[in-house]
Each structure stands twice: as C-alpha cells, then as structure tokens.
C-alpha cells in the first residue's frame, strides 16, 4: 500500500535539515542585540538596542551601502536588457550555435567566481583600465544575466508562439506586438529576474574583491570585518540588516512567479 504519510525517520531528517539551514541565520538576529562588544560570547550577557544607533551614525557603512545599491541597480538594468534579448533570441528560433549561447550565459555562474574575478582583473590590468564603479558593474552584470535569462526563457516557453502570430495576423507590427502582447506576458518574470539579479549583485563579494580596487561595497566592508574584526557590534547589526534586505526581493520574486513552472531562484 502506498501511503501519503512520510516515514518518521524521513520527517526528522527533513526538518532537521531545514533547521540546520535556518538556525545560523537566526543566531545573527540575537547577536545584533548583545551587549558584549569584544568577543562572540554565548549566551549574550545582556541585550541592548544601542548598536543600531551606533551603526546608523557610521558614514563608512552608509557609503558602502550606497555603492552596493548603485552597483546592484546598474547591473540589474544591464542584466535585464541583455538577459531578455538573449532569452528572446534563444526561444524564438532554432539557430546554429543556440546551445553555445545558452552555455555562454551560464558559464559565468558555472565557473567558480574567483575565475571570473581574476580574469576580469587581469584583463583590466592588461587594458590599463582603472578601477571604478564601472569595473564592478562589468563583473556583476556578467553573472547577473543568467538569472534574468533563466526566468525569461521559462516564461517565453510558456508564451505560445501562436499568440505572437495572432497579433501580427490582426494587423499589429512587430513593435506593437512586443508592447501589447509580449511585454505584458513576460513582465512578471522579468521583474522576478530583476529582483533576483539585484539580490545577487547586492551580495556578491568574490568577483568584487578583484574588480573594486580600493572601493568598498557593503560585502567588502563586511569581509574586512570578518578578516580583522574591529567593530563586532556594528558588523552584527549590518549582518542582520543585510539578511532582512535580501529576503525582500526573494519573497517578491517568489510571489511573482508562483504557480508557474518558472524557476525563480534555481539559477543562482
């Protein structure tokens, strides 16, 4: 007999696994309130809100946050344009080299980030390109294309080809068809892809260490705190805020693509 109840051992293993994934993140929330500022002492000797005020008044944190948001915003826009174009081409027609195009889009995520990073860095140094916001964006947009692409391809696949033909048949030219039929049908997938690209860029550190030079994005600021802890309480607060901020686009993308066969986050 087949039953719809899972064996108890499987249930325990599944929920224990889920707990393993989440407990460390919850810990971050507790540490943001600890009164201890010199070690990672557990349990916290006391709880306080003062580190939030301290963090609020830190210009270096604000500067890093600002740069991260700027880079993520530009990279997302670039990735959305390029990823959508690529998805449209790949799902529109079978052409020679189509597989190679998909591979090319996925490669920056499939290969370890350090390779993308050092490649870009050595290219910048060969080309004598100075580090700037642009150099960070070049790296980020490159690996963000794939998340937009994945979402868009999934939606294009659902968009039946006869809809586009129906639009042309009824007298619409290509641009009208794009505006009135294609765009409304892929917009939520694009938005979801854009949100994920934003989250990916906002969080990226490995490639960024190679392309940022002396600039500090928020993850780079955190990395320095991790390597040489100087302001543990501020780091705790920043960590908590980062967790909360990245959850928003993920939840948003989930609700936008729910119910479809889209793979919202599968492409990270």
């Amino acid at each position: 007999m087949h039953s719809d109840r899972a064996p108890i051992a499987l249930q325990i293993a599944a929920f224990a696994g889920l707990a393993f994934l989440h407990l460390p993140l919850l810990l971050i929330f507790v540490y943001a309130f600890t009164t201890e500022d010199r070690s990672y002492q557990w349990p916290p000797p006391g709880l306080t809100l003062k580190w939030f005020a301290v963090t609020w008044n830190r210009p270096d944190v604000w500067a890093a946050l600002g740069l991260s948001l700027k880079v993520a915003a530009i990279s997302t826009v670039v990735a959305m344009v390029l990823g959508t174009l690529c998805a449209a081409a790949v799902s529109r027609a079978k052409f020679f080299g189509r597989e190679a195009v998909s591979l090319l889009v996925i490669l920056p995520i499939a290969l370890p980030g350090i390779i993308t990073g050092i490649s870009l860095r050595s290219a910048f140094s060969l080309g004598e390109i100075p580090f700037s916001t642009l150099t960070i964006v070049l790296g980020h947009a490159t690996f963000c294309i794939v998340v937009v692409y994945n979402n868009a391809v999934a939606r294009f696949r659902r968009l039946s080809g006869s809809l586009i033909e129906a639009s042309a048949d009824l007298g619409a030219n290509g641009f009208q068809t794009f505006r009135h039929v294609i765009l409304p049908n892929i917009s939520t997938a694009l938005l979801a892809g854009g949100m994920l690209a934003f989250a990916l860029s906002f969080d990226e550190v490995i490639v960024t260490t190679f392309t940022a030079g002396q600039q500090q994005t928020l993850p780079i600021w955190m990395l320095e705190e991790l390597v040489r802890p100087r302001q543990r309480p501020v780091t705790n607060v920043v960590a908590m805020v980062v967790v909360l901020v990245t959850f928003l686009p993920i939840l948003g993308a989930y609700y936008l693509t729910r119910g479809g066969t889209d793979t919202a986050g599968g492409g990270k």
């Binding site: 081409a89 090319l104 290969l111 370890p112 993308t116």
Partner: protein, 308 residues
C-alpha cells in the same frame, strides 16, 4: 496614436519579417558582445597569462610562451593545495548529497500546499541570503566562546569534542581553525544548491512508479535503492556540479574559518595580490576549470543537464 507614428517602426517591422535572421542578429548582438568581449575576452587573457612566467630575480613578468608556470603547479607545496581543495570539494559534495536527499525527497513527495511553500522558501531564503552573513554566522557559532562550545559543555561532551580536535590533520586548536570547521561552513553554505536540483529531479518521478515498485513486491528500502535513487541521480549530479565548483573556487571561507593551509582560491588570490605572480595565479585558476571541465563532461554523459 499608433496610426500617426512615422513609418519607420512599420518599415523595420516589415524588414524583420522579410529577414528573420536580421531580427535574431539584432537580439543576439548586444548580449553576445558583452559576454564575448568582456567575459570570454577576460578568460582568454587569463589563459594567455598562465603561459607566461615570472622572472625570479626581478619579479617582472616574462612575456614569452612557456609551460614553466604549469610545471610549478606540480611542486609538492602547490600540488598539496590542489589535492587538499579537491578532497575538500569531494567531501563537501558527498555530505551535501546525504543531507539534501531527505529534505528534497520530503519536499517533493510528501509536502503539500503550505508545507510545500514552506519547504520551497525554506531552501530559497538561505540560498539567497548573504554569503558573507552566512559565513559570519558560522564564525559566531564556532568561536571558542561561542554557542557550539557552550552547547557541548552544556551536555557534558567537551571531552568528546576535545578528542575530535586532537585528531591529526582534521583537528586543531578549536573548531574555527580546523578543517572540520571549514568543512562545516562549506557544507552549510552550498547545501541549498544540492537540495534544489535533487528536488527538481524527484518531482519528476511519478508517484505511480513507486506504487508499481511496491505492487511488484519491493520493500520500501528496495524501492529507494532501485527506483528512487537512480531517478534522483541526475539531480544529485547537477547539484554536485554546484557544490564541487563552488568549493573549488572559494577563497573566503578557508580564510575566515580554518587552518592556515591554503586552498586553490587562496593561492590564486595570494599570487595575484601581494606576490604579484599573475602567471602562477592564472595557472592555479585554470586548475578548477580543467577539473570542472572533466566533471561536466562526465556529468553530461550521465544526462545530468536535463535536471538543471
């Protein structure tokens, strides 16, 4: 509004109908330029540099084709780094597969409605939450004065923990400076990348297949071994591509949690940075590419890409 629009859009639209290839080209050129020039160009630049060498006395790069730099990889100190990283990647991949399977299986087969959404988000949120914050959380957990030591003391198992830490090679002064610590953090950070493809593969196993196996007299254990596992294999392989590749290329986790012995990523970072030995860094960077190339080639033969 459309009616008064000048004929240029209409004419362009006609052109694309007459020459569908032209539209394809217009769509493909921007992304291909970007990825081809910026990404592939950079990879090529890296590859080229790995065939240069560094002059030991002046520290300047000698721009002549040579395999000398690759030969350096085989020196015991460097080869150890490669071996250590590969073993770590293999261990992380195996452990991730073992932990991921029950979660994926439960989510794919038994979770319905809200529970399904819970499991989906339950995997998705840790996957997407900040990499550094996750590493940081483990720094908090593994610290000598941290929660793990506290918990182990609480249950009176400090002796056991000390015994484990006293083990050669994998042990160390504390968890946060041992290979065990590095392993745990790798496992934690990459685990969601294993769960998702395995779950995707299991979702595709029709329930009646399991009923058929049951019907033919298989015990649950036999069904698991002969039906579910083989069908989940492409998903496991797809997941292992992520866990393997990500571990091979990471340089931050072993730097923050672990012993002072280097991994490939750290070697790349160190050689390109302070040491200024870009050729050797490039050669080191080629190693994961080669390993992943072999791995992908084997995975492709197993049909793993259908589950991506």
């Amino acid at each position: 509004m459309e009616a008064v629009r000048p004929g240029i859009a209409a004419r362009l639209s006609d052109l694309f109908w007459r020459r569908p290839g032209a539209l394809l080209l217009v769509l493909l050129i921007p992304p291909l330029l970007w990825l081809g020039v910026i990404y592939i160009g950079s990879l090529a630049a890296l590859l080229v540099q790995s065939f240069f060498s560094i002059d030991e006395f002046s520290g300047l790069i000698n721009y002549e084709f040579t395999l000398k730099t690759y030969a350096e990889l085989l020196r015991p100190a460097n080869f150890d780094i490669i071996l250590r990283t590969t073993l770590m990647a293999a261990a992380v991949t195996l452990a991730a597969a073992v932990i991921a399977f029950p979660i994926a299986y439960y989510a794919a087969r038994f979770a319905k409605g809200h529970m399904k959404a819970l499991f989906y988000l339950g995997v998705m949120l840790p996957l997407w939450s900040s990499y550094l914050v996750k590493v940081y959380a483990w720094k908090l957990i593994l610290a000598k004065e941290g929660i793990l030591t506290w918990a182990v003391d609480g249950v009176g198992a400090s002796a056991a923990l000390n015994a484990i830490l006293a083990l050669p090679v994998i042990g160390g002064g504390s968890l946060s400076v041992s290979y065990i610590g590095t392993f745990l953090v790798f496992l934690y950070v990459w685990l969601p990348f294993m769960i998702l493809p395995v779950q995707a593969a299991l979702e595709r196993v029709p329930a009646n297949l399991l009923e058929a196996s049951n019907d033919l007299g298989a015990r649950p254990g036999q069904t698991l071994r002969h039906v579910i596992l083989p069908l989940a294999m492409p998903g496991i392989i797809a997941g292992s591509i992520f866990t393997f590749s990500l571990t091979l290329g990471d340089y931050i986790i072993p730097q923050i949690v672990g012993s002072s012995r280097l991994f490939i990523g750290q070697a790349v970072y160190a050689h390109q940075g302070t040491a200024g030995n870009i050729p050797l860094a490039a050669a080191f960077a080629v190693v994961p590419i080669v390993i992943m190339g072999l791995y992908l080639w084997m995975a492709k033969r197993q049909g793993a890409f259908d589950a991506l």
